[in-house]
Each structure stands twice: as structure tokens, then as C-alpha cells.
């Protein structure tokens, strides 16, 4: 009995943290709802202490809560096998008082920082393939710029609704998408041969050296047009789409797909992040606590990964995304939500 309790304590603590954090931040959601009469009427009266009536939270509380929440996200993201961006934007935009423009800018920088931290190691281990990443990145990063410009031009409620629908779509994808550890690629196609997209990596668990090649390169590259646009538009990291595209469509081994996807974010998100930054959508008081939180959380998550049950955490991630996707959808459509 003691063994069972000890075994499941980390998950109980994790679930408790999540349950405790969200009610704390939930009251903040009303601040960003511009359809309320209070928001439309104009500036709130300010008392001599410089705080708006009804907004007496100390200035450091929100950055601190942001740090704690992103720390938990970082842990959960590693264990659940998702990127920080796909959790960050829907959760923060749904339950924090920050406008979606700033959340997207921050989300891209958060995803970018995670990719920058992981990228060098993955490249050195030859798990991430620069040769595969560059042509893909050229398409994805160009389209991410377009996506960012579209996203910033559209009305907020349209983007919020689309974001909610996309997150719910990602949940479906997570349910249905299979993974192929070593896809069957009978022959490299002409495009991948011309671009020299093939490689060898060492499977650490067995010491085996695995040759890999890809096919359906053109279809894969075309998919990254859509992936890039969505990444830029919603501020999502796009890892959720990169991995299926590289693994299931193009036939790259799963480890190479995951590693290259992570590295790819450092390029794709850079282009979109610059657009948001140049448009003024970056607030340092949001970015730095989030960045530090996610990076620390990822660091801890990697340590826990050895003992954790990824399947359980993946279900936690799916439930979180379902909840925040529904929240974003109802917020965009100006419908009541259960919380």
C-alpha cells in the first residue's frame, strides 16, 4: 500500500498543483474581455497609489504566478511529449488577464527559448538533422511571417475562436495520430536525394547505427506551408504538427523527427517572433518569468522522465488542452464557459 502511494505521489502532487493554480488565476480572465461594459466605458478611475479600483493585486503577483504556471507547464510538456508553446498560448490566454497579442508574442519566445536550449545537444548527437531542417525551415519560417501578419491583422475574437478550434483539433490529432519508430521507406525520392536529406544516427539504447532516408518530400514540404502559417498566427510552437509531418508523412525515424522538430522551432519561431516583437507585442514582464519557468520546468521534467509514466501525463496534457481549447473557443464566440 505504501509502495502504491509513494509511486503515485508525484502525479497526485502534479494534479494538485494544477487544480490549485487555475482557480487562483481564473478571476483574471474578466480583465481581457472587451465586451463587458466596464472595459468599453473607458479608463478605470485610478487611486493615488496608482492602482485601478478593483485591481489591487501587487505588480509582482502576476509575473510570479506566470513563473509557477509555466514551470509546471515545462514539467508537464516534457513528460507529455508536447512543446511548451502548445500549452502556453491557450492556457495563458484563457486564464490570465493578458491580451492575446502579448500571449502569442510571449508564446513564440517561450517555444523559441526551449528550442534554443535543446537544439545544440540534438545537433551534436546527430539526432536533429540540419539537412532536413533547412529546406523545411525555409518554407515554414516564410509562412510563419505571413501567419503572424494575418494573426495580428484579424480581429481578436476571430483569432481566439480559430485558436480554440485549432487546439481542439490538436487534441483529436493526439488521440488519433500513431507514431512510427522506424517507418518503412523503401526508396528515397528524387527530391530528398537531390537535397541530400538522409543520415545515420546511433540508437543509444542498443548502440545500433541506423541509416534513414525519407520519401513524399514534396507533400511534406507543402504541409509546412500550413504549419508555418498556423505557428505564426497563433503563436504556437508547431511541434505538434512538425513531428507527424516528418515521421508519418516523410518517413523519418521518430527520434530524428522529434529532435529535428524541436530544432526546427528555433528557426520557424524566430521569424514569427520578430514580427510580434517589431509590432510591440512583447512585454518583458511577461516574457522573462515565462521563459525562466518553462526552461526550469523542462529541466526538472527531463529528470522526472526516467521514473514517470508518460502515458498518464499525456492524458493530463490532453485534458488541459481540451479545457483550454474549449475556453478559447467560448471566449472568442463570447459564450459562457463552465468556469
Amino acid at each position: 500500500m505504501t509502495c502504491v502511494f509513494r509511486r503515485y505521489t508525484p502525479y497526485l502532487v502534479l494534479s494538485l498543483l494544477l487544480i490549485l493554480v487555475f482557480p487562483v488565476v481564473a478571476p483574471g480572465q474578466d480583465h481581457s474581455d472587451a465586451s463587458t461594459p466596464a472595459a468599453v466605458a473607458g479608463p478605470e478611475p485610478v487611486n493615488p497609489a496608482g492602482e485601478a479600483n478593483g485591481n489591487e493585486v501587487k505588480w509582482w503577483v502576476w509575473p510570479l504566478v506566470l513563473f509557477v504556471v509555466t514551470f509546471v507547464m515545462g514539467v508537464v510538456a516534457v513528460l507529455g511529449g508536447v512543446g511548451g508553446g502548445v500549452l502556453f498560448v491557450p492556457i495563458i490566454s484563457g486564464f490570465f488577464p493578458f491580451h492575446l497579442d502579448f500571449v502569442r508574442g510571449c508564446g513564440l519566445l517561450v517555444a523559441l527559448s526551449g528550442a534554443l536550449a535543446a537544439g545544440p545537444g540534438l545537433l551534436r548527437m546527430n539526432l536533429a538533422s540540419l539537412r532536413m531542417a533547412v529546406p523545411v525551415a525555409l518554407i515554414a519560417s516564410s509562412c510563419a511571417i505571413v501567419g503572424a501578419m494575418i494573426g495580428l491583422a484579424l480581429p481578436t475574437n476571430v483569432v481566439q475562436t480559430s485558436l480554440g478550434a485549432t487546439i481542439l483539433g490538436i487534441v483529436v490529432l493526439m488521440f488519433l495520430a500513431k507514431k512510427s519508430v522506424l517507418p518503412e521507406v523503401p526508396k528515397a525520392d528524387k527530391l530528398s536525394t537531390a537535397l541530400r536529406i538522409y543520415g545515420v544516427y546511433t540508437e543509444q539504447s542498443t548502440g545500433e547505427q541506423i541509416d534513414w532516408k525519407i520519401h513524399r518530400t514534396l507533400i511534406g514540404l507543402l504541409l509546412f506551408i500550413v504549419i508555418g502559417i498556423m505557428a505564426g498566427m497563433f503563436g504556437l510552437g508547431a511541434g505538434w504538427a512538425n513531428v507527424p509531418a516528418l515521421n508519418l508523412v516523410m518517413g523519418a525515424p521518430l527520434k530524428v523527427s522529434v529532435a529535428t522538430s524541436k530544432f526546427l522551432l528555433s528557426i520557424t519561431d524566430t521569424s514569427a517572433a520578430w514580427i510580434y516583437m517589431n509590432k510591440g507585442c512583447v512585454i518583458p514582464m511577461m516574457v522573462v518569468p515565462s521563459l525562466v519557468g518553462i526552461m526550469l520546468g523542462s529541466f526538472i521534467g527531463v529528470r522526472i522522465l526516467k521514473v514517470a509514466k508518460p502515458t498518464f501525463v499525456r492524458w493530463v496534457v490532453i485534458v488541459l488542452l481540451l479545457f483550454s481549447g474549449a475556453k478559447a473557443l467560448t471566449k472568442g464566440l463570447d459564450l459562457p464557459f463552465i468556469v
Binding site: G42, W59, F102, Q204, W274, M277, C281
Partner: protein, 157 residues
């Protein structure tokens, strides 16, 4: 006796890319942490007082005639604190490094600019290897990122 096979080594350009990426990341993070400390502790006075920032970050405060979100935020911030001819966008933050909040953009810009340097760093290697197609793609990618960074695409709200 056969030795265990060595892990397959990455190509020279991939290792160089990784090296530049790692170096730039550490520099960017170090700058970001230092500047944020200076900002949060009030050592360098910000343009927008930290205790009033929360009134603006929901993007609803200010002129209701302006689009809610970053547009209204920049306009309100400019009117209430900056008093500039135009709200600062693009690279305007470079001229505002004496303000604690804008000082943080230095670290953010370094982290965002590293990949451009990485692509430029591998160009000589690809040229030496006569891998011209890959070299052209690397240059194109650097150009795309530089275009995004330039601020040309950010004009007008």
C-alpha cells in the same frame, strides 16, 4: 576484440551550427537575466512603472477608437508615459535602452538573432565543400530571418 561503435558524428557544418547556437544562447540568456534584474529591482527606471503595467496589458485601456490589443496598448502607453511623436515599434527600443523595460529587448533580440548568425557561419563551410545548393538555402533562410527582424514588415497598424 571489436570495440563498441562510436556514435555517428554529425557533419562539420552541423557541429559548427550547434556551437554558434549554444554560444549565442548563453550570451542572450545572461544578458536577459541581468537586464531583467535591473528592471525588476528598479535599478534602471522603466518607461512604464511596474505597478501600473497591469492596467495596460489586457489591451483595453486607452482610445476605444483604436483596435483593442497591442495597438491600443502602444497608443495608451505613449500618451500616458512616453509622449513620443509615434508609439515605439520596430527597432525604436534601441534608442530607449536607458529605460529598464526596454533594456530587456537587448537579450530578447540576441536570442532571436542567433539563428541568423548560425546560418551565416556555415556558409564558408558549404562553399568549401562545394555544396552550393545547401549554401544557397542557408543564405536564403538568413535573408528571410533578417527580413523579419528588420521591422520593414511591421510598419503601420
Amino acid at each position: 576484440m571489436d570495440a563498441m561503435p562510436e556514435p555517428y558524428k554529425a557533419d562539420e557544418e552541423q557541429l559548427l551550427y550547434a556551437k554558434v547556437l549554444a554560444t549565442g544562447m548563453y550570451i542572450g540568456l545572461a544578458v536577459l537575466f541581468v537586464t531583467f534584474f535591473l528592471y525588476a529591482m528598479g535599478v534602471v527606471e522603466p518607461a512604464v512603472p511596474v505597478d501600473q503595467l497591469s492596467q495596460y496589458w489586457d489591451g483595453t485601456k486607452g482610445d476605444p477608437g483604436k483596435k483593442e490589443g497591442v495597438v491600443r496598448y502602444l497608443d495608451a502607453m505613449n500618451k500616458d508615459f512616453l509622449h513620443m511623436d509615434h508609439a515605439p515599434i520596430g527597432w525604436a527600443w534601441l534608442g530607449m535602452l536607458d529605460r529598464g523595460d526596454y533594456l530587456n529587448f537587448l537579450g530578447i533580440a540576441i536570442l532571436s538573432a542567433i539563428t541568423i548568425l548560425c546560418f551565416l557561419a556555415i556558409v564558408p563551410v558549404m562553399l568549401r565543400k562545394k555544396d552550393l545548393l545547401f549554401m544557397v538555402m542557408a543564405l536564403l533562410e538568413a535573408a528571410v530571418l533578417a527580413l523579419a527582424a528588420s521591422g520593414i514588415l511591421a510598419v503601420g497598424h
